[in-house]
Structures are given as structure tokens and as C-alpha cells.
Amino acid sequence: MKQEAKLVSVKKAKGDMPLTPASKPQHGAAGKTGTWRTFKPVVDREKCKDCGNCILYCPESCVDKGYNIDYDYCKGCGICANECPAKCIKMVRE
């Protein structure tokens, strides 16, 4: 690989570069973390008692008020399934 190309880009980048690494908040700072999953949570709406545990305990805030799971970012930790008193969330192999 040619290192020279990188050196040129230092000067080119200067104009848009902040003074020190300044990072903008956004979803997907680590990309689509949904791809990290081995198992995905699936909600059985019939059994759901609307307790909100899955919303409360999700470290990724990937469960919305309507119990829809954001599979783009859900890392598949399974906390929602484990904390569901109605046992209505199943972890299913991707």
C-alpha cells in the first residue's frame, strides 16, 4: 500500500477537521450492531401482559412502547426474554 496517498490527505482533511477528535452523537456509532446476534428475541403478543420489563431492562433501548424490537441494533443479549414474567419472549436462532 502506498503511504504517500495518506500523507496528502492530511493536508486535504485539515479544513474540515476539528481541532481535537470531536464525535457527533448518532445511532449506529458501532454500525448495525444487530449483526452481532446469534439469537434474536421474538415476542409472542398473545401472551404479553404489557408489564414493560423488556422496555425497562434493554441496555440498548431496542424495544419501543409497542413492544417492537429494533433488529437493526438489538445485540441479542436475551435480557428481555429472561426478565419477561409471562415468558412471552423467545430467543430464536438467527
Partner: protein, 365 residues
């Protein structure tokens, strides 16, 4: 207004005039008078700043970084082991591109315990990205602090103003108190923490990006070399006192120059007068600005460098810089370590005996 003041008081007085918002410092000999004076300014409401009585130097600079990162003008002062204890944060302040100004009262480093003047403490911080100045008079301490705020905030690099412990920090000399007025404009840190525009500063940064930020620091140092000249010019026009990266004395026709920093380099001017009387075409150059390192007017001359410091295994640090920037032979005199008293008569004598090249330790060789 003109009055008598110590170097330490001059630093504190300059901070008082610079509209500083946060001061965080930990006392250490011989810097204590700086922080005591500022504390009294704050408590008697002569200064609006918050004064944080931190528990260590590491925290002193960390607090200044916090303040500065949120857009406030900050100041700290330290010396010797205090400066070394800050070392991690010294890198951090520069990498975060925060225009903090620090007074460092140059003092030797232990062991053995030694509280007297030496430049090794601040020179061992030379690769951190800070701008560095070495003052030789009480007035220069004052003026350099004022100019440092202008410069630091212009190029977004922190600045260290150094003075010799006791020799300058505790000596009283006449001082003209200058109100900087709009010479120091209101602070505006472009990358300040802002709850309306949330950004994460200094988070993990990958190889190629990190590389760019480091290059930008290097460029900012070079930019400082240009900016500082125009700030000095404006300072001279407004307040009548002239400064440059170096202070030259009788160098016009000199074939032999003594190069040094701080008070010892100013005393060397008296040695120059002595040598001139004997017919030697001597001159001297006092390096005020150590980072970025300036070009020196030494080509074709016999160069004698006075170092109040040593990089063990390599020699005087100023001498190394000169050898690096100029392809000239250097006779390096290591003198004044641990506050050793160096008289102008002695300097003159060393110059008389100086070889074209080599190293000499005063009081040892």
C-alpha cells in the same frame, strides 16, 4: 503604574489582568507565592475567577482542562516535581488543543532534593505540544503571560511561561503594570463542550485519524511561530516593550556568541561587555521562545551554549536543539544545575577558554 514586584507576583498580577475564569493550582516551592497571591486576589474580590484548591498537580491541570474544555480561560502554576506529576495531563491539554497558560517556576528535580533553579523540569516537557517561553526579568514574566493568552487562544495550544526559581521568582525588580484592555479579546474556544451541540471530545480515534490530529498539532506549532511575531509587534506598538523569539545583544559584528535561556543568559550580556573591553567580538543570544524553536543568528560564528539542564547521555538540551537546527559546531557549557550560582565573570572566563567544540561542566571539569 510602576511598582516593585517579584517574578511570582508578576505572574499572578498578569493573570489578574487577563480575565481568567478558573485557576487551579497546588503549592510547591518556589511557586507558592504565585498561588498565594492569586488566592488573595480571588478572596478579596480583586479577581472574579474561581480558585480551586486541588489536592495535587495532576488534578490542578485536569481541572484546568475541564474548565478550558468548557470554554473558560484557565491558569495554573507549578514547578519541578509538580510539573512532572502533571506530565500526563500536559500531553492531554495539548492534544485536546486547550489554550491553558501555565507559569512554571524552574527548579531542579530530585533526588537529591533541591529547590533551586534548573531548566530540566520544563525542558523534559518539550515534546508535549506546549508552547514554551523562558523569561529573564520580572517585567518579561508579566508581559509574556499576557501575550501567551493571545497566542494560546489564537493557535489553540497551551503555553508554558518559565522563570528561574528564586533567582527570578523571589527577586524584586521594577514592574510596569499594563492593563491589556482589548489586547486580550474575550475567549472563544471553538471546540468547547456545548449542551446545545453535544460532541464527544477525545473518544477512541483510529490510527489514520489520530495521525492527522497529531500533524495538526505540529502545524499549529509552526503557525505559532508566525502568530507570535505579530502579537509581539502589536504589544510593542501598544505598550512600548519589544520582544522576539530571541533577545540578541551586541551580535551585529560578533564572531563569538553565547546562547542561553533565562536569567543566566541575561547575566551573560554583562560577560559580553567584559569581553568586548578586552577586544573580543563577543555577543549573546537569549532564547526566549523554546517551542516552537526559533532560527538563531549564529551561522559562521563560534557558538557557546549555556545549558542550565542536561539530557543524560546526550548533553545540554539547548545545545542539542541548536545542533539539530543549525549545522554548526557547539561548545556546550553545563552550568547552574541545582541553582549553582553562575557569575558573569565566570561566564566570561569560560568563553575565553572555550574550544570550538565540546562539553564542559562548570565546577566539575
Amino acid at each position: 503604574m510602576k511598582k516593585m514586584a517579584t517574578g511570582n507576583q508578576a505572574a499572578a498580577l498578569a493573570v489578574k489582568e487577563s480575565d481568567v475564569e478558573v485557576v487551579a493550582a497546588y503549592p510547591i516551592t518556589p511557586q507558592t507565592e504565585v498561588v498565594e497571591t492569586i488566592a488573595s486576589f480571588v478572596e478579596t474580590r480583586q479577581m472574579k475567577a474561581s480558585y480551586i484548591r486541588v489536592e495535587s498537580e495532576h488534578s490542578a491541570l485536569a481541572a484546568c482542562i475541564g474548565a478550558s474544555a468548557s470554554g473558560a480561560r484557565a491558569f495554573t502554576a507549578t514547578s519541578s516535581h509538580g510539573l512532572l506529576y502533571m506530565h500526563e495531563m500536559i500531553h492531554w491539554a495539548a492534544g485536546a488543543r486547550l489554550p491553558i497558560v501555565m507559569a512554571n517556576i524552574n527548579r531542579a528535580v530530585g533526588p537529591a532534593w533541591n529547590i533551586w533553579a534548573e531548566h530540566t523540569d520544563s525542558l523534559s516537557q518539550r515534546d508535549t505540544g506546549w508552547l514554551q517561553f523562558y523569561a529573564a526579568t520580572v517585567q518579561e514574566v508579566y508581559d509574556t503571560v499576557l501575550m501567551s493568552y493571545r497566542l494560546a487562544e489564537k493557535v489553540n495550544l497551551p503555553t508554558m511561561v518559565c522563570m528561574d526559581g528564586f533567582i527570578l521568582s523571589h527577586a524584586i525588580q521594577p514592574l510596569e503594570i499594563t492593563q491589556p484592555g482589548d489586547f486580550i479579546p474575550p475567549i472563544n474556544i471553538p471546540h468547547a463542550l456545548d449542551t446545545n451541540d453535544p460532541m464527544s471530545y477525545g473518544n477512541l480515534t483510529a490510527q489514520n485519524d489520530y495521525f492527522k490530529f497529531r500533524r495538526a498539532m505540529h502545524d499549529a506549532q509552526k503557525e505559532a511561530n508566525v502568530e507570535c511575531r505579530s502579537i509581539e509587534k502589536e504589544f510593542a506598538e501598544r505598550f512600548g516593550r519589544k520582544y522576539g523569539p530571541t533577545d540578541e545583544y551586541r551580535t551585529e559584528d560578533a564572531d563569538t556568541v553565547i546562547v542561553g535561556m533565562g536569567t543566566m543568559a541575561r547575566e551573560a550580556e554583562v560577560a559580553v561587555d567584559l569581553l568586548r573591553k578586552e577586544g573580543m567580538k563577543a555577543g549573546s543570544i537569549r532564547v526566549r521562545q523554546f517551542r516552537p524553536f526559533p532560527k538563531l543568528n549564529i551561522e559562521g560564528k563560534k557558538v557557546i551554549v549555556l545549558d542550565r539542564d542536561c539530557s543524560f547521555g546526550a548533553g545540554g538540551i539547548l545545545a542539542q536543539e541548536i545542533r539539530f537546527h543549525h549545522n554548526v559546531p557547539v561548545y556546550n557549557i553545563i552550568a547552574g544545575l541545582g541553582g549553582q550560582d553562575v557569575r558573569y565573570e565566570t561566564i566570561a572566563d569560560l568563553v575565553r577558554k572555550a574550544k570550538p567544540e565540546g562539553e564542559f561542566w562548570l565546577g566539575v571539569d
